[in-house]
Amino acid sequence: MNKEKLKNILSFILFEITLKSILILFLTTFLCSFLLSITPRENRITVLIREDASYEKRAEEIQKFPGSYIVWLKNISQGDLGVSKSGQPVMEEGKQKLVITFTISFVSLILLIILSFIIGIKESGKFRPLVVLIYLISTLPAFFLGYILIGLFNFHLAIIPNYMMAILTLTLSSGIIYEFSKLINTAIKSEMQKEYIETAKAKGLKELALPYIGTIGFHAFRNAIIQIFSRIGSLLPIIISSSIIIEQVFGIHGLSFMLLDGFIDKDMNRILLVILLAVLLVRIGSVISKFVYLLLNPQYRYFQ
């Protein structure tokens, strides 16, 4: 490997993965604990819940800021993420639910990328009505589409079809398809107008836009991807934030349910863990996409 490339990768690992990620996690959890210290213990709804005797113990005093946050940080450094107010250790609960949201969001992200590539590349007139239908569906709000699917199909009682419906709504209604497909379209079109394509055509490669080996589309696709890969990292936070809504609609017990329980009990451990995990997920996605971009693009320099 090139010396420069090595230098790139090492500086990437140092700054991107460690420093920035830790900084982001620290800042978000700091902000959240600050906001939680401001949130009040009671509102008109929790007053109703307190009729039940079992909830009397849960409504403790507001934890003071920043003392409780520093304590939380110390506990994390020792590996102890705390116990929620119902007695269950938070990490176990978080693990189960993280896996669920992880699968939903990443599978829908992959589906989304594939779908938008197909739509962006194939512009033939046969599929135009289908594409228009997909665009119209993507304008609907997420919960509406979810309710329609539940109304049409009775799949919400079994687990796997429920997850499949949730992934479908996530891909369609996250509001990303239109923009992303247009991005791909413009990138490929701009690539096709460059000079090296003409030489390829003159050399005798097939004039198909599709990225099969032996077509000009292959080379155009490869170079277009470089422009797009850096944008994929920004898709993931949108998907994870809209996964809250879809988990609630389909009743999938992912991170959103943990957040809800945390709000009911005003439980700092749970809420902070959920935010930590969400930001971690997003960070992982963006880091991966940047790393791939770094490897692909020979002209990229990761300088300070």
């Binding site: 900084l23 509102n43 109703l48 009729e51 509001g175 936070p237």
Partner: protein
């Protein structure tokens, strides 16, 4: 013996209705103080900052001489903008702009009429209509309850009223977010030119790229939901400022999720243009760096990209808002209330049931969900298509402004925006 039994049985823990006291809720003693400081001082400072920023921007973009040249009729002609656009695009046989403007027409018209509905609310009519869900009738559009045009709610509220009020509310929120995004994004994008600040700004952009919006929004909504219970009994002034801060904080949070994109767009444009020849010429003339960045690069070359960006995010902000209202209705623990009229109709129990039991083909309350869904689809697709047209204008420059008839608004906008 009997006394012991009684006393021991009395110790049993049982269900009780919630007997809350104010003293057991923290912070009520300081409610007035905190509410006054939080809800009056902060928005005043924010409004002053906003106005100052706006004035400065305007002074950079519009030269005073040009403003004086235009007459009053030209300014008022902006109100008729959509119809002019329809006419010009039809003449040029531009089907896509025509479709976009037609789709956006209901939204535009309802925003124009929304202030009427924001103020008027005829409670007598509403209480008389309570319990009746009337289907649409053609007459009587602008009565206080909007009864007639789009039908009434189960509570007697007119759906037309809810829709038009909703568009006003949504428009307000999106307008404030977009303003915030543009002002801060332009400034930050300009700062990326200097190497020292570039690192911090790109880091800032990455931080806010990676935070999912809803998680923080929920925490903030819970705060405001609590305050609302106390604000309801206070005077009009505090309520007004409370609403202002609520809208502003939500707008800022949502805008922070869109900022990084704008920063990247502007930084890329600056990088591409800073190596051109005409910049060397301006530097040789002795023009300051600031002025080069603001005027020659951004004002002259980036505006179309910015307008494209605005058209892209406007639709996604509307959808974000409606999903935020959904979250508020799903998390009743927060105590917050649904913000917009569209979401109120989409999330009412009648609509949810009608959609969940769609197989039974029961269209009894069709006017509850048809109109908000219609409005959402038309506005969002309209903005998408409009963005498409703008992109085509940027790339292919097929639309020729000079060949269009000289109508007052065209000259105004042409002079403001075109190269």
């Amino acid at each position: 013996m009997t006394q012991e039994i009684i006393s021991q049985i009395e110790e049993r823990v049982k269900h009780k209705p919630g007997q809350e006291t104010i003293n057991s809720i923290e912070g009520l003693k300081d409610v007035k103080l905190v509410s006054y400081s939080l809800f009056i001082i902060w928005p005043i400072l924010a409004i002053i900052a906003l106005v100052a920023g706006l004035i400065k921007l305007l002074s950079l973009f519009i030269k005073k001489s040009k403003l004086k040249d235009f007459s009053v009729t030209q300014y008022f002609s902006i109100i008729l903008l959509p119809f002019y656009l329809i006419r010009s695009s039809a003449k040029q046989k531009e089907t896509r702009t025509l479709i976009a403007v037609l789709l956006l027409l209901p939204f535009m018209l309802s925003t124009l009429f929304s202030p009427l509905f924001l103020l008027r609310s005829d409670n007598n009519q509403i209480s008389a209509n309570r319990g009746l869900a009337k289907p649409p009738v053609v007459f009587s559009v602008f009565q206080g309850n909007g009864e007639g045009l789009f039908g009434t709610n189960g509570n007697g509220e007119g759906i037309a009223q809810l829709i038009f009020k909703g568009t006003g509310q949504i428009y307000l929120l999106t307008f404030i977010t977009v303003l915030f995004v543009i002002i801060s994004g332009l400034w930050m994008g300009k700062q990326t030119y200097h190497r020292k600040t570039e690192f911090y700004i790109m880091g800032f952009a990455e931080i806010f790229e990676s935070i999912p919006v809803f998680f923080l929004l929920l925490v903030i909504l819970s705060i405001f939901g609590w305050w609302e219970a106390y604000i309801r009994e206070s005077g009009i002034l505090i309520r007004f400022f409370f609403n202002v801060t609520l809208i502003a904080t939500i707008a800022i949070l949502m805008g922070l999720s869109f900022l990084p994109r704008l920063i990247r767009i502007i930084s890329e444009r600056i990088k591409t243009f800073s190596s051109e020849n005409f910049i060397d010429a301006t530097k040789a003339l002795g023009i300051s760096q600031n002025k080069i960045l603001w005027y020659h690069i951004i004002r002259k070359n980036c505006l179309q990209e910015i307008i494209l960006f605005v058209s892209q995010i406007w639709a996604s902000i509307i959808l974000l808002e409606i999903s935020m209202d959904f979250l508020v209705s799903i998390f009743p623990v927060l105590g917050a209330k649904v913000y917009s009229g569209w979401a109120q109709m989409l999330l009412s129990t009648e609509t949810v049931r009608a959609i969940l039991f769609i197989k039974e083909l029961n269209f009894q309350h069709w006017w509850y969900y048809f109109f908000p869904v219609f409005f959402i689809i038309t506005t969002v697709t309209g903005f998408y298509i409009y963005g498409d047209c703008l992109r085509r204008i940027n790339e292919e420059s097929e639309i020729d402004f000079d060949s269009i008839e000289k109508i007052p608004y065209h000259s105004l906008i042409h002079s403001l925006i075109a190269k």
